[in-house]
Symmetry: C2
Subunit: 330 residues, 2 copies
């Protein structure tokens, strides 16, 4: 494009390219790469978008060089260039967004700087891998990285134990590598403290890429599976099931509707309203149990919640149910 | 397109449309809607993709009618139609994927059925909202829905308490509605058992849509903010900070590198290798502490991990560090 030279400020675009198939990139992600003078990224991600890189300056980096990538991006942007700093999945999920801001702030950058920063969201590995195996997420879920290159092991272990106890669906990122082989065993050990050994697990390698491979297994066999740095491990919650080769976590409709009887609403429940065991109903139950003589400690054990939380909750007045607004509820 | 009539099986495409801006839809999501004869979705999502719907049969549903949407999709697909069943964000995250499979299985459908099912991943609200406020995710995170319409409150409370204790970044979905006003207060109460009152919180309403609004606040003021059904609440972890109007969660580089001294590697640490407090280093420390006389209970309290886990870990032989493979580590 021929234009009179007009000096412009550079720009850093933190692009989440999704799982790596061009079909699964957003329009903004493609446009950002098209707009860029310089594209920086881990060599594997650069290859995934090779078709979009003609005529651009490419800076390929190795793993563990995230800070270098951010520094290179800032240097190029300060030289007036438009930089696409690419991450697989979503740039904000174990990607380049965090490290880039850390480097920018360290360099004295502020949002008033001529160099502007844009983050372009994408579907993270947990979303892409989930889409390939069915509907394992559906309900409350977590992402935990088993990489201890930057995080102490006790922090990771504490997180694994907490979410196993609280029955989340869990996606393990960076589950295993040539050097880190034991972390996945420790994760399994911690999960088995709380979960059934036959809890469904799906392992997706290279989702939406040429060497895609999907394995269904169970918690007690998880550590024996072929897992590497290109794998995402999805551990179901206590309601997750596998049927006909699809892993599905229920949303909870069975709590309200009799799914076998044409979806009739169960007694005591109402469509569009909180469950009878939702917050307000549960508070009434709690009050009644306490009034009937159950101690705080008994209630805490029964509901598996902290005693001080039970105590504070009982001391809080139960307000009249808020007037329904025009807004429908989900 | 004029073609000789060839009877084809219908198809259900579960499409995650992302935050709602056409720029942030993937190519596959757009193509799926273009391909569809019938588009089904919650009325708000139908409006977001209105430009793509010319000539198609549209079925608009209200909130809480997720099972109805899935039933309508199956009916249309059995009649030979291509159906796009749309969800905002990612169809697998509190979206239509789970409910659709539940309805399909209930109807006797299997993957061998002529009606095929495809899930098209998209960026979920937590990714989009995070992209608008900086880099709040970066490290281990969770999504929890505060809706108790299908989930008992103690289950939700237990999850909130667990992730607050284990220091996750947390995205709250369905945080508040006209009827459900107290759940956000309970969430705050549970978080304050573990987290500093000044923990950064970002509240993003209608991200990437016309009425987008972003508020930064703190944990102790979170419940006073304007929160509704179009809001996603992002609660930082104990290292998350807000600087220059951007919310950033560190990845942990400061554990390994002296960020103020040009990124020099700290003593005892090595680039590309586990931290000295990573699994193998921590196991050595644990063995040494135990050999020096610390009891299992003392170690459990010090490292804030379950005593039985400490005991099992001490009993497991520490294998020689696995031979490094060609594969680089992150």
């Amino acid at each position: 494009m021929n234009e009179a030279y007009v000096p412009t400020a550079g720009k850093i675009m933190l692009v989440g390219i999704g799982p790596g198939s061009v079909d699964h990139m957003t329009k903004r992600a493609r446009d950002a790469i098209a707009e860029a003078d310089v594209v920086i990224g881990y060599v594997t991600y650069i290859k995934l978008v090779a078709d979009l890189l003609e005529g651009k300056e490419i800076i390929r980096k190795s793993m563990t060089e995230e800070l270098d990538r951010a520094v290179s991006a800032l240097e190029a942007a300060r030289a007036g260039k438009k930089v696409a700093l690419i991450s697989s999945g979503d740039a904000g999920v174990y990607g380049m967004a965090g490290p880039t801001f850390e480097v920018l702030f360290q360099s004295g950058w502020t949002p008033d700087d001529p160099v502007q920063v844009e983050i372009i969201p994408g579907a993270s590995a947990l979303n892409s891998c989930a889409a390939l195996v069915g509907a394992p997420l559906t309900h409350d879920f977590c992402a935990i990285s088993l990489s201890d290159l930057l995080t102490p092991w006790p922090t990771i272990a504490r997180r694994l134990d907490a979410v196993a106890m609280a029955d989340f669906v869990v996606a393990l990122y960076n589950p295993k590598s040539g050097r880190r082989t034991r972390q996945i065993l420790e994760a399994q050990r911690l999960f088995l403290r709380h979960r059934r050994p036959d809890t469904p697990v799906a392992i997706v390698k290279s989702g939406y890429r040429r060497r895609q491979n999907i394995v269904f297994t169970t918690l007690d066999s998880m550590a024996d599976a072929d897992i590497g740095m290109l794998s995402t491990v999805l551990i179901g919650n206590s309601n997750t099931f596998v049927r006909h080769g699809l892993m599905v976590t229920p949303r909870g409709y069975a709590n309200k509707y009799d799914m076998e009887e044409g979806g009739a609403t169960r007694e005591g429940e109402r469509a569009g309203r909180s469950l009878s065991t939702g917050l307000l109903g549960w508070l009434e139950t709690l009050q009644a149990e306490h009034a009937a003589g159950d101690s705080i400690e008994t209630l805490a054990a029964r509901h598996r919640l902290p005693a001080d939380y039970i105590r504070d909750t009982l001391n809080e007045p139960v307000e009249a149910e808020a007037a329904a607004s025009e807004e429908a509820e989900a």
